[in-house]
Symmetry: C2
Subunit: 446 residues, 2 copies
């Protein structure tokens, strides 16, 4: 059955498919100020689920949430030399406030290492105050010249963790722990993306870090997306802000620090990692709506039964929504739920009701089949489990089949046209990295 | 047993008591930019609990969360005449970004009516799209000349709801529903503050509203604090942004709107509504930590038992924390938990352990007594219930005993020195309101 495609096909124009999906699934709009975005309710519900899962993991790793100001005195940024150099071109500056020009302009935070260190240096006195493990959920601003919704936006939402430790080893281990137990665990086990954890090269590191860990995921166009990074900051900020502690032996030492962040860019990663020509496909463990129970048409018995089905599924722990908007044609609603990537659509019409069954349509493997009311809950639970595994397996297989082991810079360039290349760093080196960079190919991870 | 007070007593200097408590309980610090604040982990955990309870109520009332940009083109603010007049003096303006001066300066949102209406006018087409019920959790900026932590800060955190309806009546009813089912219900049943719901006078209304509902709570110094407001916006913003819908009869109509907000100011209300000379007192239903189980000193058996007690309480649904920091003197830790207002402190030393009991210290009614391990969980659950009721009863009694029925403007002025005055609006009127305003007394609610 041929029908006009709802979205530009991925194979025709992947960036356009991405933008079509964001519009049609009502995930986000462009904001009025260049590079900003409006996250619409369904897009935001995906982010809320990401926040909730990440927040649990971050708290389990021992960090507490706090909130630091949006406005940072311009002078703070200058204290760490590499940091200011990295961020200067992207800053938004408030020069006028409360009806007057400000004496010292203030910067809208691009990240909070500087302002947080100012307070860490007050709060940390002795080794007893360490480790100090803080996370914040916030908006940040980095002026974007080539914005793309969710991927590169002037304002984005994120979490940023900031920690202070007594030793280099403790900081290093904590950066790795967050990377593994928060980021990698969430991305693999909830987002169903087969990420590759590793280190960034010196050229790709965070401005002010001595080491950057990254989780890179392969999108369906074969490109990599950085999904979360965890930095060892060494003592760079501690020295710039004089964050010291009194050690057990009575000496004063600078703390060792980490910072780590993940953002609304993950929504972009979800879309490009799992979406297909019919729209988004949301892994069940993430999905704000795991199953939608749809009344095919207006009918008293049908409307009562879809509510009863939803109640039973909800009692079994399924995140469920009822669709009783029978004044909108059924076909249009079905397309809309496909676009939004809800894993299961449970359809019920008067004839189904008479036969004591509903039709279960599956977004992830595709296909639909009738299921009796008695078997519905167990079928739904099993399908959600299976779909989660399917998406992760697809992601892993795509990455493996699109990663080529290469031996030369030329081969690496060729492979990067359709996927990733794996090359020994000894072969590539800093010089090879520069050659790749000249062709817009980046070394994602070591 | 006389000891030096930890805080300035309330009766000596209430504002100083407030600031002392915020410092000593480690709730917040002043930010480096005038009027901003750093919300420290314990202060933030209070806000997170408020967010969680409010978010549940807002979602139950049918609104979905979304996110709109921080930056608003300056021209948007000017479209609604009263709105721009109300907010102009408080705006922070970004004039420079991405390394250049901006062609049109952008305002850091003081509230989002304007930018949200810009999108509502795109999203709303027909009566089928109504009501449109949106909420956002965000930071906002209003430049403060007389800042006070949590109460009046240049940047604060809040939720702002924005809705569009087909009729005046539907908008009016929704503003009232949110006011009753989200704000009043939360403040009375969770915050344990006996708020008075009512309307604002024309002079005190939100800039651009046709009616403002407010929840006013009496603080322990007898003053009122506005804890949440819900506005009927009429068609003012709809006309300014041309937000229209196609009605069932085919005519085009402007929508009717509401907006409603509550903020980190509620943390200030919690402190001033329930705090005493020993610190904060947090109502159990709000408390991020309802009970702390404290090891009096280092002892293997004691450390094992406090964890076992905490596990049992946690399994019974109590939000519990273990305090095993035996390298800090017990007395200092006890004072700290009192300052933080944790309702119950369960203390265990080696002698208690031998006797199979713990000592339960109660922050809200005061006093401590031994309780056998077997009875501990049920004692804790009962105490938490009782403490919640006690705080609400105290709040109601204080408000009733400090509210005087008066007949003249002079009497109202006199009563306002120590509490509230209730006066018929027919007696007061706009002229009387002006007379009161000249003495810095405001008409809080009708
Ligand atoms: Zn100026
Ligand atoms: Zn400039």
């Amino acid at each position: 059955m041929a029908k006009a495609p709802v979205l530009t096909p991925q194979s025709d124009d992947f960036p356009r498919w991405y933008q079509d999906l964001i519009n049609k699934a009502e995930l986000a709009d462009n904001g009025p100020v260049r590079g900003t975005m409006v996250v619409r309710p369904y897009g935001y519900s995906l982010w809320e689920r990401m926040q909730s899962e990440m927040d649990d993991r971050i708290k389990r790793a021992g960090a507490d949430n706090a909130y630091f100001p949006l406005f940072i005195p311009q002078s703070y940024l200058s204290r760490e030399a590499e940091h200011v150099e990295g961020f200067s071109p992207e800053l938004a500056v408030v020069t006028h406030a409360g009806g007057k020009d400000l004496e010292e302009p203030v910067v809208v935070r691009p990240t909070s290492e500087t302002i947080i260190n100012e307070y860490f240096s007050k709060w940390v006195q002795s080794y007893r105050d360490l480790p100090l493990l803080i996370n914040q959920w916030a908006n940040v601003v980095r002026w974007e010249l080539r914005p793309r919704v969710f991927l590169r936006t002037t304002e984005f939402l994120w979490q940023e963790g900031h920690t202070a430790h007594a030793t280099f080893e403790d900081a290093r281990d904590y950066a790795a722990k967050i990377h593994r137990e928060a980021y990698e665990d969430f991305m693999v086990n909830v987002l169903a993306l087969s990420v590759v954890p590793g280190r960034k090269t010196k050229a790709e590191r965070f401005a002010g870090a001595i080491n950057t860990l990254t989780c890179e995921a392969m999108m369906r166009d074969g490109k990599a997306l950085q999904m979360g990074t965890s930095h060892e900051l060494g003592q760079n900020f501690a020295k710039a802000f004089d964050t010291q502690y009194l050690a057990k032996d009575g000496s004063r030492e600078h703390v060792w620090q980490t910072s780590w962040g993940s953002s609304t860019r993950m929504v972009g990663g979800l879309i490009m990692g799992h979406g297909d020509d019919n729209g988004l496909r949301v892994p069940p463990r993430l999905a704000p709506i795991q199953a939608v129970v749809v009344a095919i048409k207006e009918d008293e018995g049908v409307l009562a039964e879809i509510k009863a089905i939803a109640d039973r599924l909800s009692a079994a722990g399924v995140r469920v929504r009822v669709d009783d908007r029978t004044d909108t044609p059924f076909g249009r609603r079905a397309v809309d739920w496909e676009l939004k990537g809800v894993p299961l659509r449970i359809e019920l019409g008067p004839r189904d009701l008479a036969e004591g069954q509903a039709v279960v349509a599956r977004r992830i493997p595709g296909g639909k089949s009738p299921v009796s009311f008695e078997k519905l809950t167990e079928t739904v639970l099993a399908a959600l489990e299976e779909d989660q595994e399917t998406l992760l397996r697809e992601s892993r297989e795509r990455r493996e089949s699109h990663t080529a082991d290469v031996a030369t810079v030329e081969e690496a360039l060729e492979a990067s046209a359709t996927g990733w290349a794996r090359i020994p760093w000894a072969t590539l080196g800093v010089e090879g990295e520069k050659q790749l960079a000249a062709q817009a190919v980046t070394v994602r991870c070591l």
